[in-house]
Symmetry: C2
């Protein structure tokens, strides 16, 4: 079969022939129709991930066919339903097990779910890892409901955009931040009520003046802007962090945290129950993931370059059929 | 009657005659037997609190008699049972309403509870505000149970010590930090398994080496040491902060927060349900608050000086009968 894989560490992925997967006990072979990139895949090519081995077929997100049925793959394995945290043996497709950037994948049969019928192959491929991460951050951790006002920072990435779409589907009032006014406008087209450009001085005061205070904040930046987020929070607010692209958090006021009785909660990926709940919610609300760009598997290295540039708005998809 | 009160802002408290309180509708007059200091009282004399008016009888903690019954006073008012946060009209005895540092106090009848029978007047006076703050931090926010390993930082203050005693009574393994080895030893005499002196380099590594990782951390310091606390946390740990004596938190790693799926939770005071639960727990487990020093009401200004020096180990009590 053809696969997009890491041949040597610290090298770009290569598109080449690869041995067909063999199903071990409990596994099935899924014919992959489409896959999607996550930052995790790029970090692995940059050697910024623990436990890298080669050759490694990357890719956590995938959809395809199994015995003629249209299926979507749960990228996580080993984390059943503990709402607090993942066990140490929890793994994600695409390291250490071979991933979805190939024509075929061997995967445990209980990882295979029915594809939401309202989604195309490309749309469905964009859902799994970003979707379950957003679902856990919003629902399990953030305790979202329609009465909560939600702020999603750094809109544009896959998790942030899926969180925006899920929160809008819940019926919450959602605001966003970005360093790009264009991305804020695109987010508003997806249902955000408004946004603020964090490159502007006093953006948090401006935002609070227009939006009021927030009951739930979803952040993946950290850094020096994080302390400002606390200032736009309501009493008892949940601030869920699932990333730290801007580095360490400084200048955090304990007084604001205890006086407002805030909750700063870390969240990463999601468990089997959350993945099943995500699929049901997306099907019920007819949520369609936002696709930034589509590449063929053969041109997959270009997809990695695009994600590394950080300009995307939505998921970068690999279509195996083009 | 005699009272210890703030006559003018930014001045020490004075001991002098004061008009007897008059009970308004719904209020009763309690004859105060003993009271206790909190940092709040000292901050008010230093003008470090909002909404100060004079003259003001200070004091949040008090016990006494009502119609011959021995009673303990709930210092909070207006916060019934919302587990998330206090309403905006929540107040504490001793500002804006006259407090417990007097021979008599007018108080709403529903603030009056039966004094735990196993406690002396002085011990009971040491319980209310520190107790309800520690109870909420440990139970409602921290979700303590006997299987959780607990770390309490800055042992010596009233809340930290009460938290230590309550956690030991739960059956948890409890460790402490302090800048004083003597305080660590005293904490061990109260049931702590061990401790670490945060003035020593790499105290957190030393502590983790001896104690392992913690499921629940109770902190009131904040500051640069806070980031180290995350490193000694188990996956899914709760870090409850109820103070910020060392100022803003710097160098906090978002990666540790999301990877370990930590919860950093602000907590302050406690509601009526938590106060009632505290009294029941203390009575059942026969917990006795630690008393640092006892002063007469007349010598109350010396009690304020002692608290301001920060050398105490336990509560500073004012006994109205001596």
């Amino acid at each position: 079969m053809k696969a997009l894989y890491l041949k040597e560490r610290k090298q770009p992925v290569v598109y080449a022939d690869f041995d067909d997967p063999q199903a071990k006990e409990g596994e099935v072979i899924v014919e992959v129709k489409a896959a999607a990139l996550n930052h995790r895949d790029v970090y692995i090519t940059q050697d910024l991930y623990p436990g890298i081995t080669t050759p490694m077929i990357l890719g956590s997100d995938g959809v395809g066919t199994l015995d003629g049925k249209e299926v979507i793959l749960n990228p996580g394995e080993g984390w059943k339903d503990n709402p607090a945290y993942a066990p140490l043996n929890y793994t994600i497709l695409g390291l250490p097990k071979f991933g979805t950037f190939a024509e075929k994948i061997a995967i445990n049969a209980d990882r295979v779910h029915e594809k939401p019928a309202h989604l195309s192959w490309q749309e469905a491929a964009a859902l799994p890892l970003a979707g379950v991460t957003a679902y856990r951050a919003l629902f399990t951790r953030g305790q979202i409901n329609a009465n909560k006002k939600v702020l999603i920072t750094g809109i544009g990435g896959g998790v942030a955009l899926t969180a925006l779409q899920l929160a809008v589907a819940v019926g919450s009032e959602v605001w966003v931040t970005s360093g790009s006014n264009e991305k804020i406008e695109k987010a508003m087209a997806l249902g955000a009520k408004g946004g603020a450009n964090y490159k502007e001085d006093n953006w948090h005061k401006d935002l609070a003046g227009r939006a009021g205070v927030f009951d739930l904040v979803i952040d993946s930046a950290g850094g020096d802007g994080f302390a400002q987020l606390l200032k736009v929070c309501n009493f008892g607010a949940n601030i869920v962090t699932y990333g730290g692209t801007r580095g360490k958090v400084n200048g955090l006021s304990p007084q604001i945290i205890f006086w407002k009785q805030l909750n700063i909660m870390g969240s990463t990926m999601g468990n089997d129950q959350e993945f099943a709940d995500l699929l049901a919610f997306v099907a019920e609300k007819k949520v369609k993931p936002v696709i930034d760009a589509v590449f063929s598997l053969e041109e997959g290295a270009k997809a990695f370059e695009r994600m590394d540039q950080g300009l995307q708005f939505g998921k970068i998809v690999l279509d195996v059929n083009i």
